[in-house]
């Protein structure tokens, strides 16, 4: 019976699984990358700018099919717009149609004249490469992106995430410490710092960064899990338990597994105490 139930749960999780978690930020002051990416824009912000900004905004509102059709119809009039191909790529990106997204990013690269547009295309191609586990290729794309537009924050942020993925915490910290981020507040940047410091063993610095993150964001499962680990390391088992308990469960299987591991550790440790 037990095994059947577990299987059912796994199947259910699998069916709903996604590589995404809700990273929407409604408070724009905590989105230092808002000028470069719509991905984390909360519904209110998207709604507010949908009309006056780019059509691609609608893809982030779940209207990818309609928006892509609109792009088709607009080809004659807007095909030459610097962002035309990029935004089609982004709509496909939102649809997780990676090959199509890649195709249009390459189109953008091919047709773009502005370095900023080329930079964006490289950044996005980097992400596509990561989707295919082509880490080195992706990193190269990000480097190209940064070289073309040194003031862009997103490629740096993305590079920092790559470093975090491969345990290159110092590199991550180094990249995130770039002047481009200076004077800005950002949930993910701050969390990345906290994570990097935690995993490189600098609990103090990690604690500082965790302290900067507004409380409401600790419900995000990745932040919650990381913060719980921090709390365990600092001996705050109770706090860790509360953190992990208060998390909003994502449908990311691996993250769910980590959270469950943490819960297990906590249970064990608290028993030991």
């Amino acid at each position: 019976m037990n095994s059947t139930l577990t299987l059912l749960i796994l199947l259910t999780l699998g069916a709903c699984s996604s590589s995404r978690i809700d990273r929407k930020i409604d408070d724009v002051t905590w989105d230092s990358l808002a000028d470069e990416s719509y991905l984390r824009w909360g519904e209110k912000r998207l709604e507010k700018f949908a009309d006056r900004d780019h059509a691609v905004v609608q893809c982030y509102q779940g209207k990818e099919t309609q928006t892509l059709s609109q792009y088709k119809r607009d080809f004659i009039t807007k095909g030459a717009h610097p962002y035309y191909w990029l935004h089609i790529g982004n709509c496909f990106y939102v649809q997780e149609a990676w090959t199509r997204a890649e195709f249009f990013y390459r189109m953008a690269l091919l047709e773009a004249k502005l370095p900023s547009v080329k930079s964006i295309a490289h950044n996005n191609l980097g992400l596509i490469a990561f989707k295919f586990d082509q880490w080195e290729k992706g990193k190269e794309q990000l480097r190209l992106s940064m070289a073309l537009a040194p003031r862009f924050k997103v490629p740096r942020y993305n590079l920092s995430q790559l470093y975090l993925q491969f345990g290159l915490y110092n590199r991550a910290i180094e990249v995130l410490s770039d002047s481009a981020f200076r004077g800005h507040k950002d949930i993910d940047v701050t969390f990345s710092f906290a994570n990097a410091y935690l995993f490189k063993g600098d609990l103090k610095a990690a604690g500082e960064y965790f302290g900067r993150i507004p409380r409401e964001h600790f419900s995000r499962e990745d932040i919650a899990a990381t913060y719980a680990l921090y709390q365990i390391r600092t001996g705050d088992l109770k706090g860790a338990r509360e953190t992990i308990k208060a998390r909003e469960r994502s449908n990311v299987l691996e993250l769910t597994a980590i959270s469950q591991k943490i819960e297990k550790i906590l249970l064990q440790r608290m028993k030991e105490e």
């Binding site: 990416s37 080809f75 994570n195």
Partner: protein, 956 residues
């Protein structure tokens, strides 16, 4: 023929019978005369009586001979059509006359005392009068009168009568009067009325008019006496003239009105006579009186004649207006008469003089027409419009009266208008005339009218447009009636030019067809004409007409060469599409597409136009972003293209395929590319190369790796640059690798065992082996390493296995206990420690190489493993606390162990440091690096997913 034969059969016996009876009678009479003559001649003694009888018989025979000669003359005249050589026919008469005369004179000579002398002379006188040329009639008659003194003697009366007639006939009226006056004294002469009549004529001729009237009146009244021969009719016919000659026509009118119930047959001749003699006023009175009689007594049978008499009267006095009025009345009369005859055959309304009426009107119209022309020639502005009206009226009357010659009258009317420079009316009348002539199949008149109309248009007196209208009528009429004719041959080009200039393509093309039919030898000129019309269609964008003619040319009209027809088709296409292309340019692409669709479905258009329409529809839909519809129309276009056209459109379709994938429709772009790649494979050019690339690329974007590979397998021979095949295979390889599908990648590499991806494949598998968590996959990869039998993969496999052993050994090492005896023994402890450290040494010796493995992940995890092993060993050594050891010894022992352990911990840290330095320096992005990062043995939560962000815009 049958009718004629029948007539002959019927007529011949009758004719023969009549002839027989005449001849028989003549022969019988001759026989009788001859018989009697023979009897008398046979008489031995012939007295005066016998001789006189014989003279009578001779005279009788002379009469019969003359009768016969006369018949022969009539027959001969009839046969020859002339009465010449008359005397030749009467030779026998003359000869027998002489015989008879000689016989009579012989009697006169032989018989001195001759009681029949007067009779003989009388007979000779009459024979001379009737058959002779010797002019002895008067002489013999006078002798007879001289011989017969008794005024009551009938011979004397006959001689006087004959002599009066002789003088009358010889126009010796006074002598005639003398003898007639004597003759009429004889009350017993039945012919007194005749003699009175003759006498009245003699008076008339002698200009004794009153006596003449009195005498003829006597004849009229005596005729009422049954004792005399009634010559009333003769008298009535002549008495009117007598009155006229006497200058008393109205008395004549009175005579007739008073004495005859129906004087009409006599009034009209009298009126004419009166008219002739200048009694205009009286004539009118007579005619009006006659009309009254008709009206009063309903003598309508005379109406026709009366009208005619009026006409003659008016014509005589040039009273044209009256003449015309009467003509109008006459026309009305004839109409009425015709209607009456139709209703009742016994109608009194006669139509016997209809032809005469026509002639009278024609004559007068002709006369006036000539007069008008003369007047106009003298002074164009000075002619009688009244006369013109009259002439025109006559032609109208004639049209009514003489329908058979209606065309002719219309023509005359036109000529009349023309003669007075009324060009417009003349032209209209010529047109009417032609129409009528054509109806009546009077081609001569039609030609005449058309020629006159042409002459008129040649003067260019009419307004230009009008002139052209009539010119067209004349030309077209001419070629219609005489399609192959010297004049028509000249007209065709001229008429064509007129039609062309007027943009009357319907007429122009019909004319070309007509010209071609009549003159096929002028084909080249006709083709030139047709081309000019086509140019107009093109200029005016008249696509329907162009289309129609393309169809006709294809059916063979004017035998245009194929190239010309094709050129026209192209032009047609361009025109048809221009409108919708303009719409497309204006941004109304849907309307343009629908327009092209409409052209495609139009059943009249040729395939070329249809294919172009479909193709343009495809382009319009493409511009609308409707890629599937675009392809649908491309396919329809293809179905109607020739191979040549398909090839011509190939590069456009290449661009359409490119546009299609740019419009996010990769499956459709693939279809286009694959279709054309197959179709034109043999051309092996850059276009084919590009189709190949598109087919592969679009299949891969849609993750249809099999399709991409199939394109490479089937169509690589279509490439001009073979390297494209390799790069395409590399793309497929990359796509499969990205997909992470081990089995597909393996089978792909098995099918295409070529560099660089045979090598790359090994590294891909190695990467997957370390990165992927799937245990089954790892098993498959290890098996593949083995199956590849490549030194590299075999080495990697050995290393992987070795590492597994390393992990196991490490686990064993961790499980190993250095010293656990209850009592410490230095030697034994050293041996135990040595044994433990030897394990480490053995571990190091056995697995050290793995940290240098070309498998980066393996090297990383091995290094980390070594770090862990050394740390474990160091910590294990440091942690040794043997039982049974005193406190001081324990302190020294611990210090020694710490020193010893420190070496291992240092090595451990060095491993760790080296690893971190290497990872940091090389920024190694491999699973190995990730796998060593953890807190509380829990991997970093951020490893769960990549939190990178796509970029949408720049702040600028």
């Amino acid at each position: 023929m049958k009718t004629l034969l029948l007539a002959l059969i019927m007529a011949c016996p009758l004719h023969a019978e009549v002839m027989e009876s005449k001849d028989a009678r003549w022969a019988k009479l001759m026989g009788l005369v001859g018989q009697e003559m023979r009897i008398l001649e046979a008489a031995k003694k012939k007295g005066v009586e016998i001789k006189y009888r014989m003279l009578e018989l001779h005279s009788e025979r002379l009469k019969l001979i003359h009768e016969k000669n006369n018949r022969e003359f009539l027959a001969g005249s009839k046969a020859s059509g002339s009465g010449k050589d008359k005397e030749k026919y009467f030779i026998e008469t003359r000869a027998y006359y002489q015989t008879t005369k000689d016989f009579g004179q012989k009697i006169l000579r032989e018989e001195a005392r001759n009681s029949r002398k007067a009779e003989i002379l009388y007979a000779l006188a009459l024979n001379s009068r009737d058959y002779g040329r010797d002019n002895v009639t008067e002489k013999y008659l006078l002798e007879v009168i001289g011989l017969v003194a008794d005024p009551r003697n009938s011979l004397r009366h006959h001689a006087q009568t004959a002599l009066a007639d002789f003088y009358y006939n010889d126009k010796r009226f006074p002598e005639a009067i003398t003898y007639y006056q004597r003759v009429i004294q004889n009350e017993e002469d039945d012919w007194k009325t005749k003699h009175l009549f003759n006498l009245s004529w003699c008076y008339l001729k002698n200009r004794e008019f009153d006596r003449a009237i009195d005498t003829i009146k006597s004849s009229y009244f005596e005729s009422k006496n049954p004792a005399y021969v009634n010559i009333r009719d003769q008298v009535l016919e002549n008495i009117g003239s007598f009155y006229v000659y006497a200058g008393r026509p109205l008395d004549g009118l009175s005579f007739y009105l008073e004495n005859e119930k129906n004087p009409l047959p006599y009034l009209m001749p009298m009126a004419l006579k009166a008219s002739d003699k200048g009694h205009e006023k009286e004539t009118r009175e007579i005619l009006d009186a006659a009309q009254k009689v008709i009206d009063r007594s309903a003598l309508h049978q005379h109406q026709e004649e009366l009208f005619h008499t009026y006409l003659d009267f008016y014509r005589h006095y040039n009273r044209f207006t009256d003449h015309e009025k009467t003509s109008r009345a006459l026309v009305a009369y004839y109409q009425k008469a015709r209607e009456a005859a139709t209703a009742d055959k016994k109608t009194p309304l006669k139509q016997e003089l209809r032809d005469d009426a026509i002639e009278k009107m024609r004559s007068l119209a002709g006369f006036l027409q000539v007069k008008l022309a003369k007047d106009v020639r003298k002074d164009a502005a000075n002619y009688s419009t009244g006369e013109l009206e009259i002439v025109l009226s006559y032609f109208s009357h004639l049209v009514m009266l003489d329908e058979v010659r209606k065309a002719e009258y219309l023509y005359f009317r036109a000529e009349t208008y023309f003669s007075v420079n009324s060009h417009q009316l003349a032209a209209d009348s010529y047109v009417e005339s032609v129409g009528e002539a054509r109806k009546a199949k009077n081609l001569d008149l039609a030609r005449k009218s058309l020629n006159s109309l042409l002459a008129l248009t040649g003067q260019e007196e009419l307004p230009k447009a009008q002139n052209k209208k009539y010119l067209i009528f004349a030309y077209s009429g001419h070629v219609d009636l005489w399609p192959r004719d010297e004049k028509s041959e000249q007209i065709y080009p001229k008429l064509f030019e007129i039609y062309r200039e007027a943009f009357d393509d319907g007429a122009a093309t019909a004319l070309i067809a007509q010209y071609h039919k009549a003159y096929p030898e002028h084909l080249s000129e006709q083709q030139t004409f047709m081309t000019k019309i086509l140019d107009q269609f093109i200029e005016r964008k008249n696509t329907l007409k162009l289309n129609h003619w393309i169809g006709e040319f294809k059916k063979g009209f004017l035998s245009f060469p194929r190239e010309s027809v094709e050129k026209t088709e192209i032009v047609l296409g361009n025109l048809l599409f221009m409108e919708y292309q303009e719409l497309a340019k204006k941004g109304e692409r849907l309307a343009a597409a629908k327009g092209f669709e409409g052209l495609y479905v139009h059943k009249l258009y040729p395939d070329k136009v249809k294919y172009q329409a479909a193709f343009f529809a495809a382009m319009a839909y493409l511009e609308l972003g409707e890629t599937e519809k675009s392809f649908y129309w491309q396919e329809l276009a293809h179905a109607r293209m020739t191979e040549e056209q398909k090839l011509e459109r190939r590069e456009e379709q290449l661009r359409m395929a490119e546009r299609t994938y740019r419009l996010q429709d990769f499956p459709t772009a693939y279809k286009i590319a694959e279709l054309l790649l197959s179709k034109w494979c043999d051309r092996r050019d850059e276009v084919q190369n590009r189709f190949f690339e598109i087919a592969v690329m679009t299949a891969l974007v849609d993750e249809r790796h099999n399709d991409a590979e199939r394109v490479v397998v089937q169509h690589s021979r279509c490439l001009i640059r073979p390297e494209t095949r390799d790069s395409s295979l590399a793309q497929i390889y990359q796509a499969l690798e990205n997909k992470g599908d081990f089995f597909k990648l393996r089978s792909f590499v098995q099918r295409h065992q070529i560099e660089p991806y045979v090598t790359q494949y090994r590294y891909t598998l190695q990467k997957w082996y370390w990165e992927k968590n799937d245990v089954n996959l790892k098993t498959h990869i290890r098996a593949e390493f083995r199956d590849l039998k490549h030194s590299e993969t075999l080495a990697w496999l050995a290393e992987i296995n070795l590492y597994k052993e390393a992990e196991k050994d490490f686990a064993d090492l961790k499980a190993s206990v250095v010293w656990q005896r209850p009592q410490f023994d230095g030697d034994l402890f050293n041996q135990a420690l040595e044994t433990y450290l030897l394990k480490l040494k053995a571990f190091k010796e056995r697995y050290q190489s793995l940290s240098q493995s070309s498998q980066v992940d393996l090297a990383i995890v091995t290094t980390r493993l070594f770090s862990q092993v050394y740390r474990h060993v160091g910590e294990t050594v440091q942690a040794q606390r043997p039982l049974g050891m005193d406190g001081e010894t324990l302190v020294q022992f611990s210090a020694a162990m710490k020193n010893l352990s420190q070496q291992f911990l240092t090595v451990s840290l060095q491993y760790e440091k080296t690893l971190n330095t290497a990872l940091l320096e090389k920024e190694t992005l491999s699973w190995g690096a990730r796998s060593i990062a953890s807190v509380e043995a829990i991997e970093n939560p951020v490893f769960s997913f990549f939190t990178g962000l796509p970029m949408d815009k720049s702040k600028d």
